[in-house]
């Protein structure tokens, strides 16, 4: 299948700051690309360029074979952009909001009404048509914003942090909507720093940090990258009160002193440990390394309450690829 979107050597400088540096990737119709990176990595800048809101310092972007840099007006109707802020108006109902944008996109008469109703049906907003947008929950406002993005039937959807601030139910519903859109043949790019949700939605992902694309490809391939690191989650019972911070710091230090421990991060009452293994290490070697670590911790007197191997996820892949250098 020929790619709908081709990004080649994209670069964007703001004075001396290089926000996006030599970013290249492509996207087929019907696929969902997760654009992953910490805050300030260059995700939003890249999306703004793809949305024709900004022009790159160098590089080329082809959408449906047309240059987005040279002919932005021509490709703009093919793009649906949803910024990280939903952008709804006060004192308008859901129907009026969508109707306004449908008018702005040049839809007229019965065609416009039909299109608005179709979008409201698709996003499940039908029963809320007469509600003011300000009276909606965050999840519903986000649906309104998605509905606005779909009004002109774009081929490429650019969604900047669409799940930010949504409750779990709204996230699951969003996931279903996006999957349905991809099934219709639309290409979707989602930027996010919430990695767990992306792994479930995306077919492919691109990891960006400090403006540079560090890894790109199918999610399974990305997960396999740096698979020489195994994740162990352990829970320890430490002192509470004034000495708690010092005790946690001691525990982390102790862990980092152990052989094969590549990194340690704290999550509530748990510690997540990355074990470095030889390339192509089998399950037996992973188990042996984990057992060695547990034995060492018990010997050192660390009160371990639970200890277990954790399945590798996109977050681990991200940490491996970026080497933990978060901006």
């Amino acid at each position: 299948m020929s790619p709908l979107l081709e990004v080649k050597g994209l670069r964007r400088d703001y004075g001396a700051l290089r926000a996006v540096d030599d970013v290249s990737f492509h996207l087929e119709p019907g696929s969902i690309l997760g654009f992953i990176g910490p805050n300030g990595a260059g995700k939003s800048t890249t999306l703004r360029i793809l949305a024709t809101l900004d022009s790159p310092t160098a590089g080329e972007v082809l959408l449906g074979g047309h240059s987005l840099v040279d002919t932005p007006d021509r490709v703009r109707p093919l793009i649906g952009y949803m910024p990280d802020r939903y952008g709804t108006y006060d004192d308008v109902t859901v129907f009026e909001f969508l109707d306004f944008f449908a008018r702005a996109y040049g839809l007229t008469g019965a065609k416009r009404r039909q299109r608005v109703e179709s979008v409201m049906g698709f996003t499940g907003l039908g029963p809320l048509a007469d509600k003011l947008t300000t009276a909606l929950s965050k999840g519903m406002r986000q649906r309104v914003a998605l509905g606005r993005t779909l009004l002109h039937d774009p081929q490429l959807l650019l969604l900047d942090e669409p799940a930010d601030g949504l409750d779990p139910r709204a996230r699951i519903e969003l996931r279903e909507l996006l999957r349905a859109l991809a099934d219709q043949g639309k290409a979707v790019i989602i930027s996010s720093h919430i990695l767990t949700e992306l792994a479930e939605i995306c077919d492919t992902c691109a990891i960006i940090e400090q403006g540079r694309l560090l890894a790109t490809g199918r999610v399974e391939d990305i997960l396999r990258q740096g698979a020489s690191v195994a994740a162990v989650e352990l829970m320890v019972r430490l002192a509470v009160g004034a000495e708690a911070d010092a005790a946690w710091a001691r525990a982390e230090r102790l862990l980092l002193e152990q052989p094969r421990v590549a990194r340690v991060s704290r999550e509530g009452e748990s510690l997540r440990v990355g074990l470095e293994l030889e390339a192509g290490a089998g399950a037996g070697q992973v188990d042996a390394a984990a057992a060695g670590l547990l034995s060492a911790l018990v010997t050192a007197g660390l009160p371990v309450c639970s200890f277990g191997m954790r399945e590798r996820n996109l977050e681990d892949a991200f940490m491996t690829v970026t080497k933990g250098r978060l901006a």
């Binding site: 022009s55 109707p77 308008v92 702005a104 996109y105 008469g109 299109r115 049906g121 698709f122 909507l177």
Partner: protein
Amino acid sequence: MSAPVETSTGAGTEVSASVEAADASTAGLSFQERWGDRLNPLVVKEVRQGLRTRVFWACFGLMLLACLVLALVAFVHTREEAFAHHGQGYFFAFFICLAVVHFFVIPYSAYRSLAREREDDTWVLLVLTGLGPRRILRGKVSSFLVQAALYASAVGPFLLFSYYLNGISLPSILAVLGLGGAWLVFLTVVAVCAATLADSRMGRAFVHFVVLGVLGLAFSAALGISGALSDSGNRLLSNDGVHLAMGIGLGLMLLDGWLLFEVAASRLSLSTEDYTRGPRRVMVVQMLVALVVGLGFWWHEDQGHVVTEIFAVCGTLHLAVVGLFVVTDVDGQARALRAATGPVSLFRPGALRGFRLTMLLLVGWAGVWAALALVSGKTNHGSESMRMLMAVMPAYVILYLSLALVLGRMPRSDRFSSPASVRLLFVAAVGVAAGLPPLVAALVGIEMGDPLLNLLNPVVGIANFGAHDYATAEPGMAWPLVAFVVGVALLVAFMADRVLVEREKRAHLP
């Protein structure tokens, strides 16, 4: 744009909608719907939104209540005196009720509407629809004018009622309402333009206060003029000077309103759009209209020298102010625009083309009025000095605009190269050049206005060149000094041009 058959997932309901199928039913649309389709979408949305706001209903209610109370007072007051002349006072009182809304609430609401659009990032969503900044701004302005018309429709009967109270003529009422309408449109455009000026939070807060202040002053000015017109309208309206002032005022509102509108549209355009075409075209049109008007005056005044002096000086000052914003555009332009940009595409984005256009206009303007001054019949003792002034004034403008560009954009560092920085450099350069020579003169014990020391002083220098020594019947300065100032200005302008060429090349590097 066609829409495919869609399947609902989110709400779990199945929706099958072929939009093409809906086209067939377009014929069944009501006249109202068909008419609504032709309207600017912003007008529909803003009016819907505006009519739901508390501000609208509060203002509308209070205004109507005030008018009703006034009408009752007028009725009681005039019941016994059928032939008394109370119309003037009551007309003015009704007009004040309308003026509060028209000259303050409406422009301020327009300002807030666009400012919120930018603060909430809904602006980009509008731009992506393909509506275009001009159409969006037209929609914004029109929607607030529709709301203004609704207010006016409520006060209209009361204004008419004041006519029947005697004491005010119909021409006076029409003049006040006509000028008031023009003032309303102008203030709304100014407010909308102001909403585009600042990007940062601090900047927006500053602009907000400025807008409130300006609207307060505009309201007071409107009351002053309408008070004078309603008070002695007949006498004023029969005066040619007042006609001329009204004509000039309306002309300035029209041309400057247009310029501000284009500036706002330009500021809201994307960098990939030809965002400078509008403002630069208006700038040229303004100068051409001013030229035609000036020629008319010059002919009407029997080719008088004074007309050439006034138009030369005012036009140069106008070009200095507008030019400062045109020459400080960013360097280069988006790749999408480069292919169609030729050497004479002076309306296209980029500081280089803005600079060349401004220089051409300054030189052209000075040339035309200098030529007319030479053939002018009526001259006086000071004519020679004024000719010198007409020659050096554009030179000073060229010199300091160019100097600011050289200072800001010649260094390889981008520290002072932003449009705002270069404008500040211009102000600083003019300030230093105006203040330093008199200070030095005072320190070394020579006359503060010394002609040679102040030769490049944009304030004292201009005053020196315009001065005429009546004792000797000679001009205060000599033509070689004019040539020197012009020479320096052209040299610095050449430097600025080269700097901008170099920076554009750098900006266009891949």
